[in-house]
């Protein structure tokens, strides 16, 4: 390939962009749906817009080393702004767009942000809400002019003004940008991503061009990604996964990123684009499957029969066919028929007809869920990584897929397991440092240069890494048996009716659980049975719903019995929470992971009730609504005992 010759010099993102603009200037780099029509930017156009943005920033006084906060949904100009900041030696700092103003405040202060680029009026309002507490803030730029007519504050600018200014600046100083890009070095920080803060205050993770380009190139070579891939960019830009897949890999390979029209249209956009390379957290795959199952229940009898018939074939041999293993001729024939009648149309509806490689990560995926997608012919694989490692540690090689592992160490990455079971990694993709936190950096990277992931894992006989839990979460029951809460919760969450589960058991004599039902799936189930309900709290308290959930948990107990060390972790008692766990109430992180400690503290009364043998417990909880107001939800929660199975060879 021609660009390989100059690969030596392509060691920063701005240089990669300039190269694409030359090598494949007319090829689409970004698309976004606007007014119902997909608009396209070629690499050449992207480079021109980045130039205008960067020159505009320079004109406004943006300097080498400055942090530039970016807040908004995935839009082409947001991605372009990242490169624009990088061109000048600045550091883009994407923030979660659904964070409330006060959550943003910490990061904006910590990073001493002078420039903020936001998507729209909503985000401008958030910044204005905390503006008095941001003494360093100098310029607030926005992308979407809608509703902005009456904002006359002098430091708020339309991005179009900035670009117009940039174009003039570029005419007057034509070499400035080229010079700035030439000054950039591959070990400069290319992006700063804040960790979601499951533990303590968020920390700014500083990653270099070299780290992200190594991770992106390693992953792209591993899966033979080409410039012809299409990817849908819909996950938060502040998340390392999106930065790797939608930004770094696109920049490295030159493929096309597609931005959805709005957060609500992602499903439709997915269908229209038909990505060839797709990334989604398990939650998305789970929601899709739940929707499919709900719709199948409503389908005609013939369709249902056909679906179940061919799904049985797929379960039996679909994954094996995908992995190229031997399968009987009859099953091959049946699978081919199934592909025509069921899998093909289903993949089409899901927008997955063209997928070559799909990845999931971020949380453990239920084996049955994973198997479902692979069995209908979608090459879904798992990977493992953190913000600190550019989301790049382990990848599952094609044809060597194990449902309970995250694959082998990725090219260029060294992985080893510490004595306490913690996974340690080393390689070019490691973070440079935590921003202004040398103490945390020293704590996270040991003397040998290994990063301590905080996850507990084991290598199996084939060299595949298996993640058990967070190292600090793995505990012991009162009788000394191993207790891995996430592992149990993930088993529970695989049921479509259970949206969230929190189990307790560390240092206790038995395991108990809080359950959040999935209002969509359970609501549908209740409708079908003519059970009337007024909302989440009411539905969650129905005895029929308790019965339904009880069956699910008892099934998990049966499974746990068969898993040796974990047989003691069978769940003895449970309750269904009266409200959904919500990031707005600090119960989940923005990436929707349960904040175990916080939940345990907030609902201490309920935990007491679970362990003291009571049959019900009254609770009143303050909840925050989306508009920031507060309300109260109160309920008398029922607690139920569960059937557990006696462990063989031990007196019951």
């Amino acid at each position: 390939m021609p660009e390989m010759a100059s690969a030596q010099a392509l060691d920063t993102f701005p240089r990669l962009l300039m190269d694409h603009a030359q090598v494949r200037g007319d090829k689409p780099a970004m698309r976004e749906k606007d007014l119902g029509i997909w608009q396209c930017w070629t690499w050449h156009e992207v480079a021109e817009e980045v130039r205008a943005l960067a020159c505009g920033l320079a004109e406004m006084g943006f300097k080498r080393g400055d942090n530039l906060a970016i807040v908004g949904e995935n839009r082409p100009r947001m991605y372009m702004m990242m490169t624009a900041a990088q061109c000048l030696g600045g550091v883009p700092l994407p923030l979660y767009q659904d964070a409330v103003a006060n959550e943003m405040l910490f990061v904006l202060l910590d990073a001493e942000v002078r420039f903020i680029f936001v998507e729209d009026q909503e985000q401008v309002d958030k910044v204005l809400e905390i503006q008095t507490q941001l003494p360093q803030l100098e310029h607030l730029l926005y992308d979407d002019p809608r509703g902005m007519r009456h904002y006359t504050l002098p430091f708020i600018h339309d991005i179009r003004e900035l670009m117009a200014m940039g174009r003039i600046h570029n005419r007057n100083h034509p070499d400035l940008l080229t010079r700035e890009v030439a000054v950039g070095a591959s070990d400069d920080v290319s992006v700063m991503l804040y960790t979601s803060g499951t533990t303590g205050k968020p920390k700014g993770v500083r990653l270099t061009h070299h780290a992200f380009i190594s991770a992106a190139r390693g992953g792209a070579d591993f899966d033979q990604l080409t410039a012809d891939e299409d990817i849908l960019s819909y996950l938060p830009m502040a998340w390392v996964g999106d930065h790797l897949f939608s930004f770094a890999q696109a920049m490295v390979t030159g493929f096309t990123i597609n931005c959805p029209e709005s957060a609500e249209t992602v499903m439709t956009d997915l269908r229209e684009i038909g990505p060839t390379y797709y990334f989604a957290p398990p939650r998305v795959f789970e929601n899709l499957l739940t929707q499919v199952m709900i719709r199948m229940e409503d389908a005609s009898l013939v369709k249902q029969k056909m679906f179940h018939l061919f799904m049985a074939v797929a379960r039996r041999s679909g994954a094996e066919i995908l992995d190229g293993q031997p399968v009987s001729a009859v099953d091959r024939l049946l699978y081919a028929l199934g592909n025509v009648f069921v899998f093909g149309p289903l993949k089409n509806v899901l927008g997955m007809s063209r997928i070559r490689v799909a990845y999931t990560a971020g949380a453990a995926i239920g084996p049955d869920l994973f198997r479902f997608y692979r069995s209908i012919g979608i090459n879904l694989k798992q990977l493992y990584g953190q913000t600190e490692t550019c989301a790049y540690v382990c990848l599952q090689p094609d044809g060597q897929i194990k449902f309970d592992s995250v694959g082998k160490p990725a090219p260029g990455v060294e992985v080893k397991i510490a004595d306490n079971g913690e996974i340690l990694v080393r390689g070019p993709m490691l973070l440079k440092e935590y921003y202004k936190r040398p103490d945390a950096t020293a704590e996270a990277i040991n003397a040998d240069g290994y990063f301590m992931t905080g996850d507990a894992g084991i290598f199996d006989d084939d060299g595949h890494l298996k993640i058990i839990d967070r190292a600090k979460d793995v505990g012991k029951l009162a009788n000394g048996a191993m207790y891995a809460p996430n592992y149990i919760e993930n088993k529970l969450k695989f049921f479509p009716h259970i949206k969230e589960a929190v189990v307790f058991g560390d240092q206790r004599k038995m395991v108990c659980a809080f359950i959040n039902i999935d209002i969509g799936a359970v609501g549908n189930w209740a409708e079908r049975r003519g059970i009337a309900y007024s909302g989440y709290t009411d539905l969650a308290a129905k005895p029929e719903v308790y019965g339904l959930i009880q069956e699910c948990i008892e099934q998990v107990n049966g499974e746990l019995l068969g898993e040796g060390a974990l047989a003691d972790s069978q769940i003895h008692r449970f309750l269904i929470l009266h409200k959904e766990l919500d990031p707005d109430d600090d119960e989940l992180t923005r990436t929707r992971k349960v904040r175990r400690g916080f939940v345990a503290e907030k609902y201490a009364v309920l935990i007491d009730a679970l362990y003291s043998g009571r049959n019900s417990q009254f609770i009143e909880t303050v909840v925050k609504f989306e508009d920031g107001r507060q309300g109260k939800v109160a309920a008398d929660l029922v607690i139920r005992d569960l059937k557990t199975f006696a462990i063989a060879g031990r007196a019951a």
Binding site: D34, G36, I37, G147, H150, S262, T265
Partner: protein
Amino acid sequence: MSRQIGEVILDLKNVSLAFGGVKALTDISFDVREHEIRAIIGPNGAGKSSMLNVINGVYRPQQGEIILRGQHFSKMNPFKAAKAGISRTFQNIALFKGMNVIDNLMTGRNLKIRSNLIQQAFWWGPARREELAHRAKVEQVIDFLEIQHIRKTPVGRLPYGLQKRVDLGRALAMEPSILLLDEPMAGMNVEEKQDMCRFILDVNDQFGTTIVLIEHDMAVVMDISDRVVVLDYGRKIGDGDPDEVRASPEVISAYLGASH
């Protein structure tokens, strides 16, 4: 504010309307100025919807006249009203339930379509170009109201709050100069109401559309309207800016019941 309230654009003079012996409206006069948000409030049965129906010609008043941009109409009818740039939404949503959102909004463009049935059936040449232009306008409305995700959903399958929004969308697709809204927020939850308020203010602000609305939620009315007319049993008992109306003893007694 860049929005400048202009001259009187719609003037109602001594309007009376009766159904048989029932007097729905008695001798009502009020005016609407260009670019303003004018609210009509009153208890149930006060004649609010009748008033709106008189303005766009669904009901024909026995007495009185309507002056629209200096033009006198003693006999208004819905077609004339629409031609004159008045569009409306309905208290009980009147959309085509089996049609999708785009098609419903396209019906709002009906008056502006020039090609005839046969040309449209063949969808060729000018007819096709024209439809594309109208569709582009409809897409702008969709973008404005943030309903991209339901573009192709049949309206009957949408929740009530969204149907209301589509109803507003159809009225906007006409590019009206005067928009009549009949209880745009009835039956909505707080969040939906907030959204709807924002849309109404945005329409008024961005397109300069004059808005006449009926609403029961007092907080909303007092917040967003420039002037308020109060009706009670078909009579006008108050007229003025929100603060004046709120302070008027007659209005208080009609709403809260007088202490006799």
